[in-house]
C-alpha cells in the first residue's frame, strides 16, 4: 500500500466528545511535538503508526498546554502548578484514562507529578507503546528493510531512563529494526544527559570547557554509528546540533524511534 492512497486522521478530544465517543488513548503531543519543525515530523510519524494499527486515539489539539515541566525544574513552582491544574481540569473534563506521549518530560510530569494535584492517569511513553505493538505483532518491520546492517546507537534520555527506569523499551523497538545496535560507553542508569533538561534548553549554558551535547555526540560518534536514535524532543535537538557542530550531518542522522519504525513500515 502506498502512503498516498491512505488518509491519516487526527481526531481531537473535542470532536470525539461532540460525537459522544471516547478514545482508547490520548496522544499528548507536547509543545515540541506541536511547534518544533523537526519534532513535528516525529509527531506525524507516530500518528501514522497509530492510524496504521487502527487504534482509537485522539489529541487535545489547541486545548493542550505545556505541562509545566521546564518551569518547575527552573524553580517556578507557581507557574508549574498553574499549568498542571489547568491541564488536569481539561483532562479530567474529558475523562481521560490513558495517555501516550513522545516526550519524556511530559511523560514524567503527567505520570509522577500530576497525581498529587488531582490528575491520575495511566501514562506511557511512546517507546513503551511501540514496544507493546511490536510484542503483539501489530507492528512488523519487513525483512530487508533499510536498516539491515546499519549501525544505530541509542541515547538514553534522563527523564525516561534514570528518572523512570525505562531502559529496555526503546532498545526493544530498535531491535525490531534488525539493525546493528551499538551501545555508547555511558548508557542506561549511567547515561549522559543531552544538556537540555532542567530548563537548560531555554537558555545559554553556563561557561565551561564545552557544551554537554558536544560531549555526548562525541561519544555517540565514537561508536561508529551512522544513526543516533533518540526518544525525546530535546535530545533530538541537542544531538542534531552536536552532529552539526562536529560537521558530520552528511554521514550521521538523528532519528526518533517512532520515525525509524514508521520508515520500516513504509508509512
Amino acid at each position: 500500500m502506498s502512503t498516498t492512497e491512505k488518509t491519516y486522521k487526527v481526531p481531537t478530544m473535542a470532536d470525539m466528545a461532540a460525537s459522544g465517543e471516547e478514545p482508547e488513548i490520548l496522544f499528548w503531543v507536547g509543545c515540541a511535538g506541536s511547534f518544533d519543525d523537526r519534532y513535528k515530523r516525529v509527531t506525524i510519524a507516530f500518528v501514522r503508526i497509530l492510524n496504521h494499527v487502527g487504534i482509537k486515539f485522539a489529541v487535545l489539539g489547541p486545548e493542550e498546554a505545556c505541562t509545566g515541566d521546564p518551569a518547575r525544574r527552573a524553580g517556578n513552582e507557581f507557574l508549574f502548578q498553574m499549568q498542571a491544574m489547568s491541564n488536569i481540569q481539561v483532562l479530567n473534563g474529558y475523562n481521560v484514562k490513558k495517555i501516550v506521549t513522545a516526550c519524556p518530560h511530559c511523560f514524567n510530569t503527567l505520570k509522577n507529578e500530576y497525581p498529587e494535584l488531582g490528575g491520575n492517569y495511566e501514562v506511557i511513553h511512546h517507546s513503551q507503546f511501540l514496544q507493546g505493538l511490536i510484542n503483539e505483532g501489530r507492528v512488523k518491520v519487513k525483512d530487508g528493510q533499510p536498516f539491515k546492517g546499519r549501525r544505530i546507537t541509542f541515547h538514553d534520555s534522563c527523564y525516561l531512563g534514570r528518572a523512570n527506569k525505562v531502559y529496555e523499551a526503546p532498545r526493544d523497538v530498535l531491535a525490531a529494526l534488525d539493525a546493528d545496535l551499538v551501545e555508547m560507553k555511558r548508557v542506561r542508569a549511567n547515561g549522559l544527559c543531552c544538556g537540555a533538561g532542567g530548563g537548560q534548553y531555554f537558555k545559554e549554558p553556563e561557561p565551561g570547557k564545552k557544551d554537554v551535547n558536544v560531549e555526548r555526540v562525541e561519544e555517540a560518534l565514537s561508536t561508529g554509528a551512522d544513526t543516533i536514535a533518540v526518544a525525546c524532543p530535546f535530545c533530538m535537538t541537542m544531538m542534531s546540533d552536536g552532529v552539526k557542530n562536529k560537521n558530520r550531518e552528511d554521514s550521521v542522522r538523528v532519528f526518533d524511534i517512532s520515525e525509524l519504525i514508521a520508515q520500516g513500515q513504509g508509512l
Binding site: 506525524i44 509545566g68 513552582e77 507529578e113
Partner: protein, 457 residues
C-alpha cells in the same frame, strides 16, 4: 598497678562517651534546623532499601574492584568490633583476653579472622592512599575540583593513616602477646596452651625476639592502649569528619527518597495559592495527599518559597550533608561538571554541611538563638552553580548512600525564582511564554494543532 590502669581506662571510656554524646546532640540539633518532612512511611520498603544499599553496599559495586575494597574495610570495621568488645571488657575488669577460657575452641578462629580482616583493611587503606595521592584519581584532585581544598584531603589522609596504625597496633599487640605467652611471663602464662599463635601475627613474632621480658610487657601494654585509645579518638574524630558516613550512612539510606527520581516534590503551600487564582475549590491539608507535616500538627507558617539557607531545607537534606563522604561520584557523573561548568553536586553537599557547622560555631559562643547574616545561597552556593544543573539525576543515581544533591539545588532555584525574581533573562522569557502562550516558545496557542495539516503530505 592493674587497678590504676582500670581506673584510667574507665575514665577514658567515660570521657569519650560523654564527648561523643555531646557531639551527637549538637549534630542532631543542626539536622533539626531543617523543615519537617515525613520520611517514616513505607517502613518495609525503607528497610529493604537500607539492607540492600547500606548493609549490602549495592551501589558500591558499580565498580567491582573498588566495591570489593570498600567492602573489606566495611566488613573489617564491623567485625573487628567484636574484638573491641573484648578489649573494652578487659580494660574495665582488668582481665586479659576475657573470652578465651569461655570459648576456647573458637577463640583462635575468631582472632584469626580478625587478623585476616586487619591485614585486608590495612592493605586496602594503603591502596586507597595511593589512589588518592599517587595515582591521583581525578575526582579527589583539587586542580579539577575546587571543593577539594586542603581540609577534605587532609581529612581523608588522617582517616586512612589512622586505620593503618590501628591495624598495625592490633597485629603487633597479638604478636608481642604471643611471645609473652611462649615465655610464660606473669599472667600471660595463664593462657599458655589455651591460646595458640594467630594466623598473621605469628609471623611478626621474630620482631620481638630481642625484647627483654619487661620490654615486651611495655610494648604489649603500649600497643593495647594505643589500639583502644586510637579507636576512642577515632570515634570522636569521626563526628568532625566526612567519615561520619560510617554511622549516618544507614539512617540516611533508610530515610532516602522512595518516589521515582524524576518526581520533583510538590509545594502544597503553592497549591492553595494556585487553586485560589484559578477559582478552584481549595483542598485542605487533611484530604490532600500532601505529607509534608509530621502527624497532625497544624500546618506550619509559610516561611519562604524555596530555600535561601539551611533552615529552609528539609531535615533530610541536612542529614544528607552530614552523611556525605565527599567521594565525588556524584560530581564525576554530573554532565555540567564533566564539561567544565562550576556546578559540583559534591560541593553542594559540602557547602550545606559547612554552613551548618558555621551555625553550630555561632551556637557555641552565642547560644542557640544565634543568627548571623550569612546564608547558604550566595555566601556558599552561587547562582552560576545552580543555573548549570540539568536536573538529570546522575548525581542522585551515583551516590552510594542515596544522597540527593538535586533536591537542594531545586529548592535554592525556587527561592531565587519565586522570592528574588532573579532567574536568567531567557528563563524569564520562557516563563512568560508558558504563561501567555501555553508553550515555552513564542507561538500562538491557536497554531498548536497546525502540524496535523501535514500528516497526509
Amino acid at each position: 598497678m592493674e587497678i590504676i590502669q582500670q581506673i584510667l581506662f574507665v575514665v577514658a571510656l567515660g570521657a569519650t562517651g560523654w564527648y561523643i554524646a555531646k557531639r551527637v546532640r549538637l549534630i542532631a540539633q543542626a539536622i533539626k534546623l531543617g523543615r519537617p518532612e515525613n520520611r517514616y512511611d513505607h517502613p518495609d520498603e525503607r528497610l529493604k532499601t537500607m539492607l540492600l544499599v547500606a548493609f549490602g553496599q549495592k551501589k558500591m559495586f558499580t565498580n567491582l574492584l573498588v566495591g570489593i575494597m570498600h567492602f573489606v574495610i566495611y566488613a573489617g570495621f564491623l567485625i573487628v568490633n567484636l574484638e573491641v568488645l573484648e578489649i573494652i571488657l578487659d580494660g574495665i575488669l582488668g582481665t586479659h583476653r576475657l573470652f578465651a577460657p569461655y570459648i576456647t575452641p573458637i577463640y583462635p578462629i575468631l582472632i584469626d579472622v580478625f587478623e585476616l580482616l586487619a591485614v585486608g583493611v590495612l592493605t586496602v587503606c594503603v591502596i586507597f592512599l595511593c589512589r588518592r595521592f599517587i595515582a591521583k584519581v581525578p575526582r579527589f584532585q583539587q586542580e579539577r575540583h575546587r571543593e577539594m581544598t586542603r581540609w577534605p584531603r587532609t581529612d581523608a589522609a588522617i582517616i586512612l593513616t589512622a586505620e593503618i596504625l590501628l591495624m598495625i597496633a592490633f597485629l603487633t599487640w597479638n604478636a608481642s602477646d604471643s611471645v609473652l605467652r611462649d615465655r610464660g611471663v606473669g599472667h600471660y602464662a595463664e593462657l599458655k596452651g589455651i591460646v595458640p599463635d594467630f594466623l598473621i601475627s605469628q609471623f611478626l613474632k621474630p620482631l620481638f625476639s630481642g625484647f627483654s621480658d619487661t620490654g615486651l610487657i611495655v610494648y604489649e601494654r603500649t600497643a593495647w592502649w594505643l589500639h583502644i585509645l586510637g579507636i576512642l579518638s577515632f570515634a570522636i574524630y569521626v563526628t568532625y569528619s566526612k567519615h561520619l558516613h560510617i554511622a549516618l550512612g544507614f539512617p540516611n539510606v533508610y530515610f532516602s527518597d522512595l518516589q521515582p527520581k524524576g518526581e520533583m516534590q510538590n509545594m502544597p503551600e503553592i497549591t492553595k495559592e494556585v487553586q485560589l487564582a484559578l477559582g478552584l475549590p481549595v483542598t485542605t491539608e487533611a484530604d490532600g495527599s500532601q505529607a509534608n507535616d509530621n502527624g497532625d500538627q497544624p500546618p506550619a507558617e509559610i516561611g519562604r518559597f524555596g530555600a535561601k539557607d539551611v533552615q529552609d531545607l528539609k531535615w533530610i537534606n541536612l542529614m544528607n550533608a552530614y552523611s556525605c563522604t565527599e567521594c565525588g561520584r556524584c560530581t564525576s557523573a554530573c554532565p555540567a561538571n564533566i564539561t567544565g561548568k562550576k556546578l559540583s553536586p559534591r560541593k553542594i553537599m559540602m557547602d550545606t554541611r559547612d554552613r551548618l557547622e558555621e551555625i553550630q560555631d555561632g551556637w557555641k559562643t552565642n547560644g542557640f538563638d544565634y543568627k548571623d547574616d550569612k546564608s547558604l545561597l550566595n555566601d556558599y552556593i552561587t547562582a552560576e552553580e545552580l543555573n548549570a544543573c540539568t536536573t538529570c539525576q546522575a548525581c542522585v543515581n551515583a551516590c552510594p548512600i542515596n544522597i540527593n544533591p538535586l533536591d537542594i539545588i531545586l529548592q535554592l532555584r525556587r527561592y531565587r525564582v519565586m522570592e528574588e525574581s532573579d532567574a536568567p533573562a531567557s528563563w524569564n522569557a520562557m516563563f512568560s511564554n508558558i504563561e501567555n502562550n501555553m508553550a515555552p516558545w513564542k507561538f500562538s496557542p491557536s497554531d498548536r494543532f497546525n502540524w496535523a495539516d501535514q500528516v497526509n503530505d
